[in-house]
């Protein structure tokens, strides 16, 4: 479908996971593309490709979840917006309750 989707997975299809990783990476301050990739790799072990990173960055920017800052020597940093922080908070809270439920079930068996 070419239309906008409002789903619990950020509504970004196959870009949901990279988008979430980007939002987490930007949670502690603005970063440019390379810094994000390094941070995400250190944080999750996932090595994002440049094409995937910019696909997700574009989507997050159009949704107003992140915003670009002035470029510094061709490298443009991005930062989380207030809307982005709220969405990230919601996503992480949802993941936490899901993980808690899963761990409780495991402990019960």
């Amino acid at each position: 479908m070419l239309v906008d989707r409002e789903a619990s997975d950020l509504g970004l299809g196959r870009f949901s996971e990279p988008a979430l990783l980007i939002l987490v990476s930007l949670a502690d301050g603005a970063k440019h593309g390379y810094a994000m990739m390094e941070d995400i790799e250190a944080l999750s072990g996932a090595r994002l490709g440049a094409g995937t990173l910019y696909g997700a960055l574009g989507r997050l920017e159009r949704r107003g979840l992140i915003e670009p800052l002035p470029a510094e020597d061709r490298r443009r940093p991005y930062r989380l917006t207030a809307a982005g922080a709220a969405v990230l908070q919601e996503q992480l809270a949802s993941m936490r309750s899901f993980a808690t439920a899963g761990l409780q079930r495991l402990a019960a068996t």
């Binding site: 070419l2 593309g33 159009r62």
Partner: protein, 157 residues
Amino acid sequence: VSKLLLLYPRAWRRRYEDEFLALLEDRPLTAADLLDIVRGALDAHYVLLAQRRSTMGHKFNELLLRSLVWRTVIIGIVTLLGVACGMGIGHLTPSVQAMGASTALWVGVGCGLFLGFVCGAVWGIMRVLHRAEAQRSITFPTGVLEFHAHDRQDRLV
């Protein structure tokens, strides 16, 4: 690698090319990275298509349909000619092994032309959409398709 960026839409390159190239200069590229860049280009075209659909409203489908129909007719004729030539070659040449070098060359050229034609058609459709967005009207053999302000919607994709 900068040549690969030509696969991306012009609007995307205007916005991201500098920082994207700066990012690629910062780390060694693997074959998987190159594939990811190509996949990113396809995605960028998809996003552009979705944005155009949003701004053109219901006229987008009509434009896409007309554009597709005319190209399908042309590709269909080329395909039929290709099939007829292939049948002719098959009739004259009983097996691939028995095929002479010049016949194989012609078959290769024919396949290449057909592939180029299909790629050209896709590129042509993207150009038509771009022109429609810029000029607000497109002339087809069957008439002119015009766009007005009320066709436009401001939905983000």
